[in-house]
């Protein structure tokens, strides 16, 4: 709600901003098509999902029947649902924590501006752009139990055979690993951009004062980077919460339910088992949770916009 006040101008400047010929017609002309499109293909489906979550779909007759809160009741009393919630939360918190630490470390490392680092930065962009299904494919090859390169390495280094995707205790952490491979670069790009934008004099002053490298990091660099880190963490958190592709490409939710996420649970129930009503209830639990995350993010974005406003 508030995030965009900065976009639309601040109240105090109203008189100056209000252009002479502005009419309601112009706003409609510019905004109308996009608004209508989103009403048809985003808002309407979102409302339909809500309605469907109170209904039951009969596949043979292609009819819907009101069942009140039954879907939600089934959901909250099913052990499977809570397993999936737990998986999603682990994937989200562990993944984001790893990515924030590694991404920030990478940003500090690249800030030395080593020769040739531009090439490596280019390489690091790639995983983010990759078709999710191919990410799954690559890692299924690397993690293959018979001939995968990672198990060969694990055995060589004396770690022994690891059931990366087949061991129910390991598989979720394998997902965290692959997710971090793909998305640590995102945190890196965000934090690095902020780091490069900071005035170098601040750091020079710090070293003149005789502060050690660690002190400068702790009291100078990290606090200055914090807005970018928080932004990246929330952004990644919301995305990780919706994780679907990785599960689809890597494990299909298995073994048993060990790696299924909320999105995947909704997908399976909806598209594979045709339990549209139940799947809609799952997705609406997600919508509510995501709304909290989005509110948080919008607050961060707004704060930043206000900070730099002249």
């Amino acid at each position: 709600m508030t995030a965009v006040t900065a976009h639309t101008g601040r109240p105090g400047k109203k008189a100056r901003l209000a252009p002479p010929t502005q009419g309601r017609g112009e706003a409609w002309l510019l905004l109308g098509p996009a608004a209508l499109y989103l009403i048809a293909f985003s808002i309407y489906p979102l409302i339909m999902s809500l309605i469907r979550s109170f209904q039951d779909y009969n596949q043979t007759k292609d009819t819907w029947r009101w069942i009140g809160l039954r879907n939600y009741q089934d959901l909250f009393t099913s052990a499977e649902f809570w397993t999936v919630v737990k998986n999603t939360l682990i994937l989200m918190t562990a993944g984001v924590a790893i990515q924030v630490v590694l991404g920030t470390a990478l940003a500090l490392f690249f800030n030395q501006n080593l020769r040739g680092s531009a090439i490596v930065r280019g390489i690091l962009i790639l995983p983010m752009l990759l078709t999710p299904i191919v990410v799954g494919l690559m890692w299924r090859a690397l993690l293959n139990p018979q001939w995968g390169l990672l198990n060969w390495l694990a055995v060589k280094m004396g770690l022994g055979y690891v059931g990366w995707l087949s061991d129910a205790h390991v598989a979720l952490w394998t997902l965290v690993l692959v997710d971090s491979w793909q998305w640590t670069p995102f945190v890196f790009v965000v934090v690095y951009a902020r780091l490069q934008a900071l005035p170098q004099e601040v750091f020079e002053a710090g070293s003149v004062d005789g502060a050690t490298w660690f002190q400068r990091l702790r009291y100078l660099t990290l606090p200055l980077l914090m807005p970018a880190i928080v932004f990246a963490a929330i952004f990644r958190g919301i995305d990780a919460f919706r994780t679907f592709d990785l599960v689809f490409g890597l494990t299909n939710g298995g073994p048993v339910q060990a790696t299924s996420t909320l999105s995947f649970e909704g997908f399976q129930n909806g598209f594979e088992f045709q339990r549209y009503g139940y799947a809609s209830a799952v997705s609406y639990v997600m919508v509510f949770a995501a709304a909290i995350g989005i509110t948080l993010l919008l607050r961060v974005v707004r704060v930043r916009r206000m900070d730099v406003a002249p």
Binding site: M1, V4, H7, T8, A18, P20, T21, Q22, E26, A27, L30, L31, P33, A34, A35, Y37, L38, F41, Y44, P45, L46, S49, R52, L106, F109, I119, V120, G122, L124, L126, M128, L129, L130, T131, P132, I133, V134, M138, W139, A141, W147, L149, W181, V189, V190, A193, R194, A228, T251, S263, G266, F267, G270, F271, S280, Y284, V287, A290, L297, V301
Partner: protein, 277 residues
């Protein structure tokens, strides 16, 4: 002084290791795509390569598996969807950046939040909608929802870019007698071109990779995009000819690789738009 040199050397070793960690999975895929079905099983892969095997793998995928059809479908769907999203999103972003009207804040934040909604929350109704419109198994059936998915992204990115263009430019153009839509069309669009490239880049990336919704909208091979085809070819359960799967993977990565080299700076700008501004 010596410590300094050692530090440098260590830094470079770390740099190389980071690069390797990023690129190793790609290289592994490439190597697998050069092997025969049996040679894949050798760990670690040996350095024996056979030109005829390589040809055989790539010919199988490109020729027998309709790869070219998928590329064409992907190009058409991505291109059209991105253009429509820009056509709808740029004027909307301009309105949010410049005009004050009732409900502006509510609208803008609603649109922004769609960017972060779980796609599964709309996937089922959208699929049912497309089905009742009779558009299942058509390119339009894919394009319609894809525009809706990339539109919030386009609007969000463009608002930021329009905010950076001084309002005085619009105002002086309007003093010259142009209306708002004409100001946008004649004066601001050329100025906002970098922003539109950033927005288009992100729209393209999103649409090019989408398959959650597309998987069920399209079910005949001649309408499938690359990720939809790849995902039906490579599902976790079905047994896989790994050399062929790897070849599919490589051929999927190549267009993205080329694209990323061309637009790298727009990608970085887009990602950091929210963070540094």
């Amino acid at each position: 002084m010596n410590g300094r040199i050692v530090g440098r050397v260590i830094s470079y070793i770390v740099l190389v290791l980071i690069g390797l960690a990023g690129i190793a999975p790609f290289l592994y895929l490439l190597v697998l795509s050069f092997k025969s079905r049996l040679d894949v099983l050798t760990v670690p892969p040996d350095r024996h390569f056979d030109w005829s095997t390589i040809q055989e793998n790539y010919r199988t995928v490109i020729h027998d598996d309709h790869y070219v059809t998928f590329v064409v479908n992907s190009l058409v769907v991505t291109g059209v969807a991105t253009l429509i999203a820009l056509g709808l999103g740029v004027p909307a972003a301009y309105a949010f950046s410049r005009l004050r009207f009732r409900g502006a804040d509510t609208w803008a934040s609603t649109i922004l939040s769609f960017r972060f909604m779980p796609p599964i929350a709309v996937a089922i109704p959208i699929y049912l909608m497309i089905r009742s419109l009779g558009l299942v198994d058509s390119r339009i059936g894919l394009i319609l929802p894809y525009v809706a998915f990339s539109l919030p992204l386009v609007i969000w990115i463009m608002i930021g870019f329009f905010d950076e263009i001084p309002r005085e430019i619009d105002e002086s153009a309007m003093v010259d007698g142009l209306t708002r839509p004409l100001v946008l069309l004649r004066v601001l669009l050329p100025l906002a071109r970098p922003g539109m490239l950033v927005a288009a880049t992100f729209g393209v990336i999103f649409v090019w990779n989408e398959f959650l919704v597309g998987l069920y909208i399209v079910n005949s091979a001649d309408k499938e995009t690359i990720p939809i085809a790849a995902s039906s070819l490579l599902t976790v359960e079905s047994p896989i000819d790994w050399n062929i799967a790897a070849t599919v993977g490589v051929l999927t990565v190549i267009p993205i690789l080329i694209f990323s080299m061309v637009v790298q700076r727009y990608i970085v700008r887009g990602i950091t738009a929210g963070a540094v501004r």
